[in-house]
């Protein structure tokens, strides 16, 4: 029996009650924050100054900062252009495991290029890259893990997108990746490695800006509480309380706070992500975001966060284009709205267990007979595979 259901059953009721209490508490907090949100946004200039103050005095920060638009406003769906290009990338990976016969890492990236207005099927590209043996180890000699390889994959996605943009693609060109646009969120990656990655993302974005290529990161069902964090700062400054980071168990997600404010197809106002860590350097991508209600019915709002480079946020026509393209792309799968192009890129890239084993066998077949590499899985892994 894989699970002791009787034991789980005994605690299931208690768990459900706890989850229900948590939800009620979150809603209560959200309702309190509603008022504070309106109060804070009544003077956006003052709110921005408070955030600047927090940015100077706090060592770590992750919050939303209103940009030029009224933070309480929402913006209706703009029209789509007749011709444009959508370029999406998504990746998956094989993380080296010491339990397997061979320890190897691989990244697999799917790229979909759709020329809207052409009537032609999208161009698809699949890039599978085996990491060099030396790349599968950290500086301290330990095997790289999920975060390390995800960082390699994220960076490769960005550079492959850049390489995929050719002059013959109909303009405007919008590139989309799944997840945050910056890569600071990978908290396990720190120090020089994080700084190098951030610098690379920053430089890629600068190239895209020069060429007028738009980019966006799409986050489905986001859990961040950047607005709650923003309101904490407002509350502290307002009440003359010394600024400090709050560590409450209940953080009201932006999604919960904004769900009833944004109609289907509409977007929220633009905010900038203020994120600060002790070891940040100057070469860091400035990111703005808005929330987009990709639902088609008012009864079931579904908010996704759309992150864009700061320079795009300063051009309303470009923001409108991204808004229109992403909503319409998500509506293709309207019963579970999510951009079709991103789903397809994921479908292209996903690595299945059978493929993992095929690659492992391929690599083993390249080893000479007198190789000292055993080619044996760990006994634990072998026994786990028994059916």
């Amino acid at each position: 029996m894989p699970i002791n259901y009787a034991s789980v059953e005994a605690n299931a009721g208690r768990y459900a009650q706890q989850a229900q209490n948590w939800l009620l508490e979150s809603r209560k907090t959200a309702s309190q924050l509603e008022q504070l949100f309106c109060q804070a946004c009544s003077d956006p200039q003052r709110l921005r100054q408070m955030i600047d103050l927090a940015q100077e005095s706090l060592p770590k920060l992750y919050l939303a900062k209103p940009l030029q638009e009224d933070p309480l406003a929402s913006f209706s769906l703009p029209a789509l252009p007749a011709n444009y290009t959508l370029l999406t990338a998504d990746g998956s990976q094989i993380v080296p495991s010491r339990h397997r016969a061979l320890q190897f890492g691989l990244i697999n990236i799917g790229i979909l290029t759709v020329r809207f207005g052409s009537g032609q099927p999208p161009a698809i590209k699949l890039i599978s890259e085996l990491l060099d043996h030396v790349e599968t180890f950290r500086d301290d000699g330990s095997l790289i893990g999920d975060d390390d390889i995800a960082l390699v994959r994220d960076l490769r996605e960005r550079s492959l997108i850049r390489e995929g943009i050719s002059p013959d693609l109909p303009r405007p060109v919008l590139t989309i990746t799944d997840g945050p646009l910056d890569i600071f969120y990978r908290s396990d990656i720190q120090g020089k490695k994080a700084q190098t990655a951030q610098k690379e993302v920053y430089q890629l974005d600068q190239q895209l800006e020069q060429e007028g290529i738009l980019s966006a990161g799409y986050i489905d069902k986001p859990g961040s509480a950047m607005l709650h964090n923003m309101l904490d700062v407002f509350n502290q400054v307002q009440g003359n309380v010394p600024l400090q980071q709050k560590s409450k168990k209940i953080r009201v997600s932006d999604r919960l706070l904004l769900a009833d404010r944004i109609a289907p197809g509409d977007r929220s106002a633009l905010f900038e992500i203020i994120s600060k860590r002790r070891e940040d350097t100057g070469n860091r991508l400035r990111v703005a975001f808005f929330y987009l209600n990709v639902s088609s019915t008012r009864a079931h709002p579904w908010l996704a966060r759309v992150e864009i480079p700061y320079w795009i946020s300063q051009q309303p026509d470009l923001v409108a284009l991204i808004h229109a393209v992403l909503y319409n792309d998500a509506q293709v799968l309207d019963s579970h709205p999510y951009p079709y192009s991103l789903h397809r890129a994921h479908e292209l890239a996903v690595v299945k267990q059978a493929e993992y084993e095929e690659i492992e066998n391929l690599l083993l077949s390249k080893l000479s007979e007198d190789s000292n590499i055993t080619g044996y899985r760990s006994n634990k892994d072998y026994l786990k595979g028994l059916k």
Partner: protein
């Protein structure tokens, strides 16, 4: 090199048994095969297995089912699903005979073709050759089919075969084939009536 060897494959075998087989092809290749067409698979030992296309199946998957319920699908995404995604069109084939050492038989082959064997469309010369032998004995395989629109299959096949024979200046094949059907169905009046009805419709075209 014979005509057959030069012909372009219209699909590759997915699964097979002695009496029937299924080939897969891409949507792009779908303009060639048609219901009732005579096709063949060449085996490694140079023997050939002949069959008639009895059904062409367009498969779906969970993404296509999602898209079907969507409000609107851009043309580019319709094309993506038809031409890019890995959903083979299935061509179902009824085995009607085989050829070994140049001898055509209307019996079932000793063994079925193997997966990934190539499926080819027979040209008019081959259609004339296969359908005129053995007093059209291959028609019995069609009449054995259950739960399938046998009359429609016969009409589609007769239409193509009749054209192939007329191109070869043979105007008697169609009448002989009809006579053969009448003989085979002499004890099944209802079915015979249905078959003759559909063939009458074919003659009016």
């Amino acid at each position: 090199m014979s005509e057959t060897q030069k012909s372009i494959p219209i699909g590759k075998l997915l699964r097979a048994e002695n009496g029937s087989f299924v080939a897969g092809c891409r949507v792009r290749e779908l303009d060639t095969p048609a219901l009732g067409a005579l096709v063949k698979v060449k085996l490694e030992d140079q023997s050939e297995i002949y069959g008639l296309i009895t059904n062409i199946l367009i498969n779906d998957d969970s993404l296509v089912r999602q898209l079907v319920s969507g409000v609107s699908i851009p043309t580019e995404y319709t094309a993506d699903n038809r031409y890019n995604r890995n959903l083979p069109v299935e061509i179902h084939v009824l085995t009607v005979g085989y050829a070994q050492n140049g001898q055509i038989s209307h019996r079932l082959p000793p063994r079925p073709p193997l997966s990934l064997d190539e499926l080819h469309l027979c040209d008019e010369k081959e259609v004339r050759c296969f359908t005129s032998l053995n007093d059209q004995a291959y028609l019995r395989h069609i009449l054995r089919l259950l739960d399938q629109p046998v009359e429609e299959l016969l009409a589609a096949h007769f239409s193509q075969a009749k054209k192939a024979h007329e191109t070869g200046d043979d105007t008697t094949w169609y009448e002989q084939a009809c006579q053969k059907l009448i003989t085979l169905l002499r004890d099944d009046y209802q079915r015979l009536t249905n078959v003759l009805d559909v063939l009458t419709e074919l003659e009016r075209e």
